[in-house]
């Protein structure tokens, strides 16, 4: 069996290193906790965000249950804004699955955009908890699979620390002012990402979905967003992925220019076209729909979609967003099986 030729961990690391591998890995840089995994431990979704052991257990369970080829923390997108001083709502009163959101803004008007990054950022909010969770997860499954973490991109983070409407309008009216804020946020993100690296993360995904071409023009992406992504990627030494969802065909080349080792796109991207544009050697991760296919599709639809992704030229089979927790085990297994059977 060629699958025994290397562990999932070796396969992903070789992929990042540009070495030849037998098949695309099937992993993600975004949250992939499942309700099956939570059930195994008797954990509530609302509780796993604020306990390092629970977070690490839940993150490792997707590999243990389905053979998914990574472990990734956190599951929410609020760690960075929280460390900067925003309050977070984890919806502890809700039985269903709701992801935490930001409750209070840091910047309430255009005049308050000149923020200072608090000192001791790595000891604020849940950054210490993340450090611990990465360590625990790495100890648990790190010998077999890669350990990943993610941070937001500066623009998406800016959309959390201030009103998104205002940010979007200012990015058009006063790009210099927005640029200054993004520069500071990029510094904060570098500090946090480096901390994750120190804690043992093998790769980090920067999620800049706020700057998708569904929202911002490719021109604004290039002039206002890209420079700060480049700043971040130039400062990080571990393996990096830039994820942007939505319409990304027009910015795929810019995404690669960011200096990220790999780019990640979702189901709205025409991957075959992107592959042609960026050439054979660039790392392109994607791009199945984690809800409409993986959760609500049939196993046949899952297999068909996954095969299509690989035929279109993805370097790794990877979801367009967080894996939605209620994914049926049969669908998860079908995905893993389809990837393992695939040969270039």
């Amino acid at each position: 069996m060629p699958d025994d030729a290397m562990t999932p961990r070796e396969r992903v690391l070789k992929l990042f290193a540009g070495e030849k591998i037998d098949r695309p890995p099937c992993f993600s840089g975004m949250g992939n906790v499942t309700t099956e995994g939570l059930k195994k431990f008797g954990y509530k979704f609302a509780a796993v965000h604020s306990d390092a052991k629970m977070m690490a257990d839940a993150a490792a369970s997707t590999y243990k249950l389905f053979g998914f080829e990574c472990g990734v923390v956190p599951f929410d997108l609020c760690v960075e804004a929280e460390a900067l001083g925003c309050a977070v709502n984890v919806y502890s009163h809700v039985e269903d699955i709701l992801y935490p959101t930001i409750k209070t803004k840091l910047v309430n008007s255009e005049d308050e955009m000149d923020i200072a990054i608090p000192s001791g950022l790595t000891e604020r909010g849940r950054v210490p908890l993340m450090r611990e969770a990465i360590g625990l997860m790495k100890k648990d499954i790190g010998g077999e699979v890669v350990a990943g973490a993610h941070v937001l991109g500066p623009f998406t983070l800016a959309g959390q620390v201030m009103e998104l409407n205002t940010l979007l309008k200012l990015s058009f009216k006063k790009p210099d002012k927005v640029g200054k804020l993004l520069d500071k946020l990029a510094d904060a993100l570098i500090i946090i990402a480096k901390e994750y690296e120190k804690a043992g993360a093998d790769y980090i995904t920067v999620r800049e979905m706020g700057a998708t071409s569904d929202v911002l023009s490719p021109r604004v992406f290039k002039t206002l967003i890209l420079p700060y992504l480049q700043k971040i990627f130039s400062k990080l030494e571990l393996n990096t992925v830039l994820h942007i969802c939505g319409k990304t065909n027009d910015i795929a080349v810019f995404m690669l220019d960011s200096g990220a080792k790999a780019i990640s796109v979702d189901q709205k991207n025409d991957v075959a076209e992107t592959r042609k544009k960026i050439g054979d050697s660039a790392l392109l991760f994607g791009n199945y729909d984690p809800y409409n296919v993986l959760v609500s599709g049939t196993t046949d639809q899952v297999r068909e979609t996954i095969k299509q992704c690989m035929n279109n030229g993805v370097s790794a089979v990877w979801p367009g967003c967080d894996i939605w927790p209620t994914v049926p085990p049969a669908n998860f297994n079908a995905m893993m099986d389809e990837v393992k059977q695939y040969r270039r």
């Binding site: 919806y91 269903d96 699955i97 992801y99 569904d214 911002l216 939505g246």
Partner: protein
């Protein structure tokens, strides 16, 4: 009364004010329309809304993106605030009311606000619940207001799932209510499966749908007026 030539000039300026997100011009010429005795409806529909129709086209052609759209909406609202108190109630046989909001867990409201704006323009009574709205609140507000429509918005896959529960609850309490769902992760398939009456996957489509709705209102108004004239 403004001459026909002057009327056209004011309408054209209002239209361009929206397209070029010029709030000052929208303000000045909305006031001028009133001062010169123009019909407020005329100024809204053939001036401001015509501009927004063009903005919709520019958005679809990817010449405009969300920041431009938001600025155009601001200009439209500046004009609307001035003109709306002077609108004579249209007797179209429609008295629309809508409960609208973004579902709990989702703090994004740009798409919702664009749809809300078009309802405002169309003269709907809008009950805006805002963002991150607890699911029960939609049902509660609908039962309280007896709205014709309920619009649910979700920007993320992670919050879309809550819509199903709201749809089930609403339909159980009032089978006649019309439900529209919208947002990036929503699909025709999901709308059908969950029993929603309509859907919009993104701001472009939401805007298009809303404009179509307004355009058909405009047509009905013209037909009603033609009938009156004959």
């Amino acid at each position: 009364m403004a001459t026909e030539e002057r009327r056209k000039e004011i309408l054209e300026t209002l239209k361009n004010a929206v397209i070029q997100y010029d709030e000052d011009a929208a303000k000045e010429f909305s006031q001028m329309a009133l001062d010169e005795g123009m019909d407020a409806n005329d100024a809204i529909f053939n001036g401001l809304v015509s501009g927004m129709e063009e903005v919709g086209r520019l958005f679809e052609a990817q010449e405009y993106f969300v920041p431009e759209l938001l600025m155009c909406a601001d200009a439209l609202y500046v004009g609307l605030d001035i003109l709306k108190p002077h609108v004579k109630q249209l007797d179209l046989g429609i008295r629309g009311s809508v409960v609208i909001g973004t579902v709990e867990g989702d703090v994004h409201d740009i798409g919702k606000n664009i749809v809300k704006m078009m309802f405002d323009v169309a003269g709907f009574q809008v009950y805006d619940l805002g963002k991150d709205v607890p699911l029960d609140k939609f049902v509660e507000e609908h039962m309280k207001t007896h709205s014709d429509l309920v619009c649910l918005s979700a920007m993320m896959t992670t919050t879309m799932v809550g819509m199903k529960k709201v749809i089930d609850d609403l339909k159980a309490k009032n089978p006649d209510v019309k439900i529209m769902i919208g947002g990036a992760p929503v699909s025709q398939d999901i709308a059908e499966k969950w029993g929603a009456d309509g859907y919009s996957p993104d701001a472009t489509n939401a805007l298009k749908d809303a404009i179509n709705m307004i355009s058909s209102l405009k047509k009905m108004k013209e037909e009603a007026e033609a009938k009156k004239g004959s």
